[in-house]
């Protein structure tokens, strides 16, 4: 039986907000509205991280996803044609099959998740502090960390190649 305490109520509200934002993002017609509802979802997810005792992750989530990514998307939209509306060009049976596929996938996931409840004790999360995180990243995971910097460089170069104006045309 689920206990009705403050944590559960907070989780309920936050998850409804997160799912609602995602649904609205899919159903809005204007691109700006989509970005705003996406930001809303991201913010709610940050709230869920707080509930899970992952305060650092929550702060990062707000800073990067709710803040930076959303603002970047908004800038992108404002600097390009932002009055675009999505054209309804999808064949109806296509939509139907996507729906069936996604519903089946959700069914399998939910079935799996609910059939096997976790009986184990929750681990002690007290030692997962920020300085421990930093130490892990720069000691054990230094190779993927460096690789990520190459990855970012590639993304940057790629954005420049794909977006720059023709030099002469």
């Amino acid at each position: 039986m689920i206990e009705m305490n403050g944590e559960f109520i907070a989780f309920l509200i936050l998850s409804i907000m997160a799912i609602g934002g995602a649904v609205f993002m899919l159903n809005f017609v204007r691109v700006v509205h989509m970005v705003l509802s996406l930001a809303f979802t991201m913010l709610s997810i940050a709230g869920i991280y707080v509930l899970l005792n992952a305060e650092f992750l929550a702060a990062i989530q707000v800073l990067i996803y709710t803040g930076a990514v959303s603002i970047l998307m908004l800038f992108g939209i404002m600097l390009t044609r932002h009055r675009d509306q999505e054209a309804e060009g999808v064949r109806p049976w296509h939509k139907f099959f996507s729906f069936v596929g996604v519903a089946a996938f959700l069914g399998i996931l939910l079935h799996t998740l609910y059939r096997t409840p976790f009986t184990e004790e929750t681990a002690d999360v007290g030692r997962f502090s920020v300085d421990w995180l930093g130490e892990t990243v720069f000691k054990q995971y230094v190779i993927p960390f460096e690789a990520v910097s190459v990855l970012l460089l590639v993304a940057l170069v790629g954005a420049v190649i794909l977006a720059r104006k023709e030099s002469k045309s």
């Binding site: 799996t112 230094v142 190459v150 590639v154």
Partner: protein
């Protein structure tokens, strides 16, 4: 005792470091060179770097396995052999595409070269790591660079469409892989493949069986996307057609080899315990076999109806992904690593050769319709002869590399007692004769639309000759390669490095 940064021997990482340094150096040189100047120098530097890295990797062959920082970097014979395949593929593509990129990507020649190197670096990281985080970062580095390479011909709408489709589909597949990995981490609390295997085994026996299988199947979904195997191959024809031909051959050869190394590494490193526990035979092997069979059937039948050569090659590469999945699915067979890698090497030579001829013909006629091959035997007898060998090898007819590749996979499948997949393989191979021979018929029995000779640039000619030599040598003397592969220490792939067990 915990080992730190400088306690490790970092020279084992030399191939990666050479490629990284070359990519960084090239991007700086590219800045300093005059705009519109000759970028040929960049091509030669990159080629030298790839060859240098290859030599270092080849010298390491046979050394004992070594790991750095709890398997975030790990080099064993499996990694070295795959690395050599990736390096050989990229080197040949670079050599063959000097002239092509001068023409195609006028405004992005330098970028083309160092993005190719960055993609190669990502692929090499995929081969030599046993840690989920490094594997994922390597995969994304490879994918991201490939997305940009696919869209590098910005003025052409089909190139834009290719890049766009590739980004969306690639993003979805990465999400699936990541979701699967998150279940592994959630169950085990580690990103190390071998530790994860032990703890997954415990989790499996204490009632979390559905989660273990869920994580595996989510990852398999993503892997099948990345290796372009049916039914997740939808992106391949459009992307292969839209991208510039050298990029297409990179996707078909290097990307695919890297994807296979990832699949083998993760499945054998983390989920092999399912073989003893039971569900491998009941669930995993049938799923893999169905993916393999679907790839063979869909790839080979869809290729029959194509009139554009690049689309045809795309479907053919889907079919080949199916063949290459068979050894892993029939894991109990006699020569798992040998048959997969033999096929990959054969596939490397014949596909690269075919794509290079295709590139030359495409440049000359300006389109990629099958009809542009008409009368090639008169316009360029050598190219036509080489192309015939490549196609015969792709079709798997003796005595070529492709024949022995398929033969070893068949032996493996039969020793694992998976007879029906062997039958599917034989039937679809016969089907594939129709479209491969369609091209040969075009080259020899159709009159050319104009009598112009097809000039072959020096770089492309060298690539065609090397591929031809490779295809024929692997066909005439398969035992050499097989003996060589037999000497490798494959079992080190399956277990952690000995002397660091105590960590």
């Amino acid at each position: 005792m915990e080992k730190y940064f400088l306690d490790y021997d970092w020279t084992v990482m030399a191939p990666e470091l050479i490629i990284l340094a070359a990519a960084a150096l090239l991007s700086v040189i590219d800045l300093l060179l005059k705009e519109g100047g000759n970028r040929r120098l960049l091509g030669w530097i990159s080629l030298a770097a790839v060859i240098g890295a290859g030599v270092v990797a080849a010298q390491q062959l046979g050394d004992p396995a070594y790991e750095i920082l709890s398997d975030t970097y790990r080099v064993d014979d499996f990694a070295r052999v795959f690395k050599l395949i990736l390096l050989a593929g990229t080197g040949l593509i670079l050599l063959g595409s000097f002239r092509e990129m001068d023409r195609e990507g006028k405004e992005a020649r330098g970028e083309y070269i160092y993005l190719l190197l960055a993609a190669l670096l990502g692929g090499m990281m995929l081969t030599s790591s046993a840690d989920l985080i490094t594997l994922f970062v390597g995969l994304e580095l490879l994918s991201l660079a490939s997305y940009i390479l696919a869209g590098i011909r910005r003025k052409r709408t089909d190139s834009n469409e290719a890049a766009w489709k590739y980004v969306v589909m690639g993003g979805v597949s990465s999400a699936f892989i990541l979701y699967g990995m998150s279940f592994v981490y959630g169950l085990t609390g580690t990103t190390n493949l071998y530790t994860a295997q032990q703890r997954l085994f415990e989790a499996y026996n204490s009632g979390y069986e559905p989660f273990v299988l869920l994580s595996l199947f989510l990852m398999l979904l993503g892997f099948a996307f990345k290796a372009a195997s049916a039914p997740f191959h939808m992106w391949a024809p459009d992307v292969y057609q839209g991208a510039a031909t050298p990029v297409t051959s990179f996707l078909a050869v290097v990307s695919k080899a890297a994807a296979f190394s990832l699949i083998l590494r993760v499945l054998l490193g983390t989920y092999l315990f399912l073989l003893q526990a039971g569900p491998w035979q009941e669930l995993v092997a049938p799923a893999l076999l169905v993916i393999a069979a679907a790839s063979m059937v869909i790839g080979n039948t869809a290729a029959l109806r194509q009139t554009r050569t690049k689309r045809m090659m795309a479907y053919s590469s889907v079919a080949h992904a199916g063949y290459m999945l068979v050894p892993l699915a029939a894991v109990a067979g006699a020569m798992l690593f040998e048959s997969t890698i033999y096929y990959l090497i054969a596939y490397l030579f014949m596909t690269l050769g075919a794509f290079t001829v295709l590139m030359v013909v495409e440049r000359e006629t300006g389109n990629e319709h099958l009809a542009s091959f008409a009368g090639l035997s008169r316009r360029s007898p050598l190219a036509a002869a080489a192309m015939t060998v490549f196609l015969v090898s792709l079709a798997g007819i003796p005595i070529t590399a492709g024949f022995f590749g398929k033969f070893y996979i068949l032996i493996h499948a039969v020793t694992a007692r998976e007879f029906w997949i062997a039958a599917v393989m034989l039937v679809t191979t016969v089907v594939s004769y129709f479209y491969y021979f369609g091209v040969i018929r075009m080259m020899y029995f159709r009159p050319p639309s104009d009598g112009k000779k097809v000039p072959i640039p020096a770089g492309a000619a060298v690539v065609i000759l090397i591929s031809l030599a490779g295809t024929l040598l692997l066909g005439f003397l398969p035992q050499w390669t097989l003996d060589f592969l037999g000497q490798m220490d494959w079992m080190s792939t399956l277990s952690p490095v000995r002397d660091t067990l105590g960590q």
